[in-house]
């Protein structure tokens, strides 16, 4: 499949007056396939919004190129890029009703009046703003403005849909349903989309692939399964996933046909070569110090497990238990979809399986092995 959006070697350097330059985006390469939904995810200041603004044309690139639908667009004005946008600061036109705001996006097309009305009705229904179509932007709530601006972007035909925190201000009750509808619409009509969010729940829910950014650098670009199961480095590993991955500093020791991870100030976890296979052993090589990680949902609680730990807290959230245990001087969290009966202070058995371990280089923080496979 050919890339619809292709970002090549793009840098963004800001020169704030009287202060030193800020390198917001560094040598970014990113390809978005036709019909694909991509999320730019990261904490504030990671470079995701600068990237989105360069794609939309609100910011110049400092270096590099942006191809969209086989055209070089990085020097074109926003209106010349055939991009549909729902953006903070790209607000609704105050003198127009919500209906006319949405319809305005279609005016330059060749649609009849009834076709325009039908498209507006469809998008208004999708984001549930039918009842406010005849109101003016300044008389509706922030959440409603956001939905209206989303409808205005989605209603038109474009080479790319650029969305900034599309569900940021919506009521939680509405969000889950809207996410489902939006994803279905984008997939059904193969609408190539790129959106920014700081909320990984939103990224996971909507995106085919997620670009995790930090410090202006793309850390990993993968689907959510790979981000969880094969994180490229410790940053991605601990950023993706709620609750975050449990991580421990550890030393590696070989005993005959066993690999033993001695957690700093904690227990040692031994695995036979049949569990922790040659590929993973080779990836670790002769390193002594590593970081070992395991996701909370993969910590096994109960009888038959090797180690025990003291329960620090046990919280039932209605559909899952979160159990925190004292391990190696920190908290190790286990999440279970069954209700766990353990009291605070009690020692409970726990186990980690070789296939659920993530191993990182202690110095570079780059992933070495995931489960029994090399990274």
């Amino acid at each position: 499949m050919s890339a619809s959006l292709s970002i090549r070697g793009v840098d963004k350097i800001y020169h704030p007056r009287g202060r030193s330059a800020v390198h917001a985006v560094k040598a970014l390469n990113l390809d978005v396939d036709r019909g694909e939904i991509v999320a730019l995810l990261g904490s504030s200041g990671c470079g995701k919004t600068s990237t989105l603004r360069m794609v939309a044309g609100f910011e110049d690139v400092s270096a590099g190129s942006i191809m969209l639908a086989d055209r070089r667009v990085e020097r074109l004005a926003p209106a010349e890029r055939n991009v549909a946008m729902a953006f903070e600061g790209y607000s609704l036109y105050p003198p127009l009703t919500v209906r006319d705001n949405i319809a305005f996006a279609l005016k330059r097309g060749r649609l009849s009046g009834s076709e325009v009305a039908e498209r507006v009705r469809e998008m208004a229904a999708l984001v549930e703003i039918e009842s406010i179509l005849d109101r003016y932007p300044n008389s509706i709530s922030g959440g409603q403005q956001q939905r209206a601006s989303l409808a205005r972007a989605l209603v038109r035909d474009a080479d790319l849909y650029v969305l900034d925190e599309p569900m940021g201000q919506l009521e939680p009750q509405l969000r889950a349903v809207l996410r489902g509808r939006l994803k279905r619409l984008l997939k059904d009509r193969a609408m190539t989309s790129i959106f920014v969010t700081h909320d990984q729940t939103e990224a996971n829910a909507l995106a085919d692939r997620i670009a995790v950014m930090e410090g202006g650098v793309l850390q990993q670009f993968a689907n959510q399964h790979d981000l969880k199961e094969r994180p490229a480095n410790l940053y991605v590993a601990t950023f993706i996933g709620e609750p975050p991955m449990n991580v421990f500093d550890a030393s590696v020791v070989r005993h005959d046909d066993r690999t033993v991870f001695q957690l700093d100030n904690g227990p040692s976890l031994g695995f036979g070569d049949n569990e922790f296979g040659p590929e993973a052993r080779q990836a670790i090589g002769d390193r002594r110090k590593i970081v070992i990680g395991v996701r909370p949902h993969r910590v096994v609680l109960g009888g038959g497990c090797g180690e025990t730990a003291r329960v620090v807290s046990n919280q039932w959230l209605g559909d899952q238990s979160h159990v925190a245990m004292a391990v190696a001087g920190k908290l190790m969290v286990a999440v279970s979809h069954e209700r766990v009966r353990a009291t605070i202070g009690e020692s409970v058995p726990f186990g980690l399986r070789a296939r659920d371990l993530h191993i990182f280089d202690a110095d570079t923080t780059i992933a070495l092995a995931h489960g029994a496979r090399a990274a």
């Binding site: 969000r175 349903v177 996410r179 994803k183 829910a205 807290s313």
Partner: protein, 369 residues
């Protein structure tokens, strides 16, 4: 013994009745989370307890004594409020210590206590900063530390983790109950986050429309909400509500859901002839092989992963949308298209259409606590 005893408390601002007869008692050493949507009067209730506002009617008892007339400084209550209220000219350390200096002048004791609480709240590295050098999350934890450092026997906390970033907030959620239990404080804790309310509270008091709609253990409130308003506040995603009219068919209660006839247990017989909302939590809906008796035909419209579960947007007969969630890892992604769902009878919630109250099945003697 009740350490906090609130009876029939009322408070209006101008013509706006915020609290309409709130009664609540909190036992010694208990943590009660006060939970509800914004604007329901949670903060007002804390301020009444602290003595910052005077009630229009009702009584406040603290440690077994009527406290209604006593001024804030005589109530002996520790507080951390949303607006931090830190002294701008003092370092974080001195702000925290200001909670202690009225009680002890031993500099060694003060330093030890401040260091201990700062360590627990993960602000040791900013103790020498002034408030304007702190992030909002750090300010909030400094205010919390100041409230905790004196080991007050009654502690009022107004959404103390609100501005803390998600990862730290999660850690604090795990550690805070232990911290509070160790201090032995009686705590009333305001939050707008249902997970925080469930995680931290021995009991949750749900404040809705100026009244306590329900006060019970987190598990009971989730499984047996008093009314539809309470039910909708818990769960992610929130529960599905479907209009149903139970009928007796051959003596057994039955409902029509998405075109399928679903038999309810005999304990719902008394609901026959009424109009109800069927409440189904997304995690209690399962995709099953069908068609079969008790299953409902659906179309899987979209699959949206949510952490370690997947949320499925489904449509039933008549384009009615429902959400289901599946726990755990699937080797192959769930595909969109036709499917069937079923639900466990012991997860069924029925709410009266008119009053919103939950229908109590005949054999429901109490359930788990």
């Amino acid at each position: 013994m009740a350490q906090i005893e609130i009876q029939n408390l009322c408070k209006s601002f101008k013509d706006n009745a915020i609290l309409k007869g709130v009664s609540l008692s909190v036992d010694k050493g208990e943590i009660v989370t006060l939970f509800g949507p914004s604007g329901t009067g949670k903060t007002v209730l804390l301020r009444l307890l602290a003595g910052i506002y005077a009630p229009d009617a009702g009584a406040i008892g603290l440690r077994g004594r009527d406290a209604s007339g006593s001024p804030p400084e005589k109530r002996g209550i520790g507080m951390a409020f949303q607006n931090f209220a830190l002294f701008p000219h003092m370092t974080a350390r001195d702000n925290i210590a200001s909670g202690l200096t009225a009680r002890t002048t031993d500099a060694g004791v003060i330093a030890r206590k401040v260091d201990a609480v700062a360590h627990l709240l993960k602000i040791s590295h900013v103790l020498d900063h002034s408030p304007r050098e702190l992030s909002n999350g750090q300010k909030q934890r400094t205010a919390l530390a100041r409230a905790l450092v004196a080991d007050p026997d009654i502690l009022l906390l107004d959404d103390p983790l609100r501005n803390v970033d998600a990862k730290l907030r999660y850690e604090m959620r795990l550690e805070l109950p232990t911290l509070l239990k160790r201090a032995g404080s009686t705590v009333l804790y305001v939050t707008q986050d249902f997970k925080e309310a469930m995680a931290l509270g021995d009991r949750i008091a749900v404040l809705l429309d100026g009244e306590i709609a329900q006060c019970d253990t987190p598990a009971r409130i989730y499984a047996e909400p008093a009314n539809v308003g309470v039910a909708r506040l818990f769960g992610d995603p929130t529960l599905n509500l479907i209009e149903v009219e139970p009928r007796l068919i051959d003596g057994a209660p039955e409902i029509l859901v998405g075109g399928a006839r679903i038999r309810l247990s005999a304990s719902y017989a008394a609901a026959a002839g009424g109009t109800y909302l069927l409440g189904l939590r997304p995690e209690s809906l399962r995709l099953v092989d069908g068609p079969a008796p008790g299953t409902i035909a659906v179309d899987v419209v979209a699959v949206t992963p949510l952490n370690e579960k997947s949320v499925l947007l489904l449509t039933m007969e008549g384009s009615r949308e429902v959400l289901a969630s599946e726990a755990g890892d699937r080797d192959e992604p769930r595909l969109t298209g036709p499917a069937h769902i079923a639900f466990d009878m012991d997860t069924v919630l029925l709410f009266d259409r008119a009053s919103g109250q939950r229908f109590i099945p005949a054999d429901d003697g109490g359930g788990e606590s």
